[in-house]
């Protein structure tokens, strides 16, 4: 299912990575702050690398929201279980580059409508009571049909969701230390990237389950994911989970920053704009077999995929092998974590005929993933509305042709 060119590209990446590590190591030693690790990174023993035969890599969308965005998608079709390896986490860069932050210099300032403004060092944050939780992060622009050159693969269409074990401090612990005043109703979170990326979040969510995170899958959060500190806002569009977090101001209104108003709102036919939508809907997709792959012949295949929802826990995933005329319940990998990717599995024997495979998610609130037709009807839009719209969570059909090739059947 993967080509040789990917393999070559991977080796090229590895070589470049080694070169960059070497150069950076040199530059840093001149500045007198050589993290010993960097000189060793070119060595596969210091930090283990995947097999050179393996082609599990992120891909660029080739069609970013803004020309200068860096958009990399997670290879969902090549992954198993529910955890996304940190280096394969999707990336949607709105801030023009990943900042290079020395954790010794990094500070988190909490101020505004609090009794005691406080500044925390990374060491102080790590002394506070910690929690580890498995949460997905999904870009609000994930699942746009036709995303990518042909919208042909699960990676290009759905690859902007990833799931990690995050470790850090509950934001409520920090806010309680500062003493939130009773008139407060929102927080404004800010990163220390070059744009000082900013987001407004209701205080109720901040006091509920938002994490201030310093570790991802057991190791320090990767620079592309916010090293050394980021927010993780469970179940909500990932644009809220501010990376490189350095400031939280407790306030009494949303601040309507650029990335939460103009740059991340949609319009609907009534002439209105949609914004502040927060929670993601129930969602699922079959990751194998999926678009762009080819079945070598008839016989047994396990159908597998991921389900997730902003509503909490996935309670049921159903699989259809007849384009949605009938559904059967799939097995869910246990335990199911709230606000996490949930792996489903379904045994299937292909008889060599043309079939359409699709999955449907139901969550703990009883919310059900709609078809694109149902979603369009409810919003009063045509199907191609969802080409550009955010928060689309429609059922994804994959058509298996007689020759074993598989294609995106959303618009067939």
């Amino acid at each position: 299912m993967a080509s040789h060119s990917h393999s070559d590209r991977r080796r090229w990446f590895l070589k470049c990575g080694a070169l960059v590590s070497f150069v950076m190591g040199f530059v840093r030693s001149v500045r007198g702050q050589t993290p010993a690790r960097e000189g060793l990174l070119k060595d596969n023993l210091a930090y283990g690398q995947p097999s050179p035969f393996d082609n599990t890599i992120r891909r660029s969308l080739g069609q970013a929201t803004v020309a200068t965005d860096t958009a990399l998608t997670t290879p969902l079709q090549d992954l198993d279980g529910i955890i996304t390896p940190s280096g394969l986490h999707f990336l949607m860069d709105h801030v023009k580059g990943v900042p290079d932050i020395d954790p010794k210099e990094h500070r988190l300032l909490i101020h505004g409508m609090v009794d005691r403004p406080l500044t925390y060092t990374m060491d102080e944050l790590k002394r506070l009571p910690s929690v580890s939780r498995i949460y997905f992060l999904e870009c609000n622009a994930n699942n746009r049909p036709l995303r990518g050159p042909n919208g042909e693969s699960v990676q290009l269409v759905h690859g902007r969701t990833s799931c990690s074990e995050w470790t850090g401090v509950l934001l409520s612990v920090l806010l309680n230390e500062c003493g939130v005043q009773k008139e407060a109703s929102w927080i404004v979170a800010e990163g220390s990237d070059s744009n000082k990326y900013t987001m407004s979040i209701p205080l109720a969510k901040a006091m509920d389950d938002i994490l201030v995170v310093y570790a991802q899958n057991g190791e320090p959060v990767r620079p592309q994911q916010g090293y050394p500190l980021r927010l993780v806002v469970p179940g909500w569009e990932a644009i809220r989970s501010v990376k490189w977090l350095s400031r939280i101001k407790v306030v009494d209104q949303p601040y309507m920053a650029w990335h939460e108003s103009g740059n991340n709102a949609d319009t609907i036919p009534s002439g209105k704009g949609l914004w502040y939508r927060f929670e993601l809907g129930p969602n699922s997709v079959i990751t194998r077999p999926s678009g762009g792959q080819r079945l070598p012949g008839r016989g047994f295949y396990e159908i597998t995929g991921l389900a997730w929802t902003g509503g909490g826990a996935v309670t049921k995933v159903e699989v259809s092998i007849d384009g949605g005329r009938s559904y059967k319940v799939a097995a869910l990998q246990q335990p199911v974590h709230r606000y996490a990717h949930t792996r489903f599995r379904f045994p299937w024997t292909w008889n060599g005929e043309e079939v359409v495979l699709q999955s449907r998610c139901t969550d703990e609130r009883g919310e059900v993933q709609p078809t694109i037709a149902e979603a369009a009807k409810n919003l009063g839009v045509s199907l191609d509305y969802f080409y550009q719209a955010d928060h689309f969570n429609g059922i994804q059909p994959w058509k298996v042709n007689r020759d074993g090739s598989i294609q995106n059947a959303l618009f067939l």
């Binding site: 005691r116 003493g179 900013t198 002439g271 927060f278």
Partner: protein
């Protein structure tokens, strides 16, 4: 305005410090930031503009700043980078992204120019330059006049054309509530 506000907070904090530390802080970690530190970092601008610094500018002044510091990316007169795509009605059945039309408050424009522009040197513009550049962008979109003076007082009163044209995805829906089938956007 911003300075006095922060100073006020800091004074209160200092005054409350002894008493507060006894009742609120469980872990006794973190340190109290100085008023200067808070003031220097308190750059997010609310729709009512309470954090806006002193300074002022007009579109006329902004044109010169734009030519010098913005045109390299945004094109001469803003033709190249989305600045002058104009404010358009929001409703359409096949949405094209029309970011600037979706900005509800002029303070959002000021805030983003201040924190993120120019891309090669974000945060390098003076307050006067940000007021002037904001005025220029708004003028090029027919929202203010060329000679209108924008400052901490006048900027929050500028009415963006689509300010009232936003609805929640499902009116009345609150985070955590079950939504009607199909209303997940």
């Amino acid at each position: 305005m911003r300075y006095s506000c922060s100073l006020h907070t800091a004074v209160l904090t200092l005054a409350a410090c002894v008493a507060a530390s006894a009742q609120g802080r469980t872990y006794q970690l973190g340190s109290t930031p100085s008023a200067e530190e808070i003031k220097g970092r308190d750059i997010a601008i609310s729709p009512d503009g309470r954090e806006l610094p002193p300074g002022s500018g007009t579109a006329k002044e902004g044109a010169a700043i734009f030519a010098q510091k913005c045109a390299a990316c945004h094109g001469p007169n803003g033709s190249g980078g989305g600045v002058t795509r104009g404010i358009v009605p929001l409703g359409n059945a096949k949405p094209v992204k029309i970011p600037f039309s979706l900005v509800p408050y002029a303070t959002t424009v000021w805030d983003f120019i201040n924190r993120a522009m120019p891309q090669s040197k974000p945060g390098s513009l003076s307050a006067d330059e940000v007021y002037a550049a904001t005025a220029y962008v708004l003028y090029r979109n027919d929202i203010v006049k060329e000679t209108d003076v924008l400052d901490a007082k006048s900027l929050p009163t500028v009415r963006m054309p689509n300010r009232d044209n936003f609805v929640p995805a499902e009116p009345g829906w609150k985070p955590g509530e079950k939504r009607p089938f199909g209303y997940y956007p």
